[in-house]
């Protein structure tokens, strides 16, 4: 099965643009990596970059499988504690993800904030650009918007009483005998 997969992968690699193949050769996905080399590499990776911390809240399970630090994340240096920028800037990440998506191999890339799944998740969380359309979001609104319902109800009640009021007004000499002036 592995050989068949390997053949498939070779065919796939031949069909991909060189930019993607270069990236995948440099950062092979966990599915392609041989099982024997992974533990040793992983152990060496843990010794060198143990306190590797991810800057985003993406699931880190896939990251821990990989023998290399994710090229799409900022990493903290084990010794100096300094943060280093990801190997690929957000712009280049987006370009790679777009390229991979067009060739249907997006799942081979390491997790990125520019990935389709992440974008969909963020869209669901934040909603549309319009404030208040995300999950659990509320908008305070202007005072006129907050009090609109109450004012409309008051107006409705006043309009319901209007015919009776006009009748009384007419009976009392068109305002001559009117007593209830508004303040």
């Amino acid at each position: 099965m592995a050989t068949m997969q390997r053949g498939q992968y070779i065919k796939l690699a031949q069909s991909l643009p060189p930019r993607l193949t270069k990236f995948l050769a440099r950062y092979p996905p966990a599915a392609i990596l041989p099982q024997t080399s992974t533990p040793s590499n992983a152990s060496s990776a843990t010794t060198t970059t143990t306190p590797l911390e991810s800057s985003s809240e993406l699931p880190s399970s896939t990251i821990s499988d990989l023998p290399y630090p994710s090229p799409f994340r900022a990493t903290k240096h084990a010794v100096t504690g300094k943060w280093h920028n990801p190997a690929f800037s957000l712009r280049r990440q987006a370009e790679l993800v777009k390229l991979a998506r067009n060739h249907g191999v997006e799942e081979l890339l390491p997790p990125s904030v520019k990935s389709t799944a992440e974008r969909i998740r963020r869209r669901a969380e934040n909603g549309l650009r319009v404030k208040g359309t995300g999950v659990g979001q509320k908008v305070k609104g202007k005072e006129s918007e907050r009090t609109l319902k109450g004012r409309l109800e008051k107006r409705r009640q006043a309009m319901l009483q209007m015919p009776q009021m006009v009748q009384t007004w007419k009976e009392r000499g068109h305002g001559r005998g009117w007593k209830k002036w508004p303040k």
């Binding site: 004012r151 008051k154 107006r155 006043a158 309009m159 209007m162 009021m165 006009v166 007004w169 068109h174 305002g175 001559r176 009117w178 007593k179 002036w181 508004p182 303040k183």
Partner: protein
């Protein structure tokens, strides 16, 4: 008095009784009773 916020400004002699008239209110699009508000007197 339809509580729409629409109003009219009129002039009257100081000694005249408070004004009140049926006028068109464009908010509710009807003729409604307008009562003088500033001099809410007896």
């Amino acid at each position: 008095m339809a509580l729409t916020g629409y109003y009219k400004t009129l002039m009257r002699p100081r000694t005249h009784r408070p004004l009140s008239m049926l006028k068109y209110d464009p908010v509710v699009r009807k003729k409604v009773l307008f009562l003088e508000q500033k001099r809410g007197g007896k």
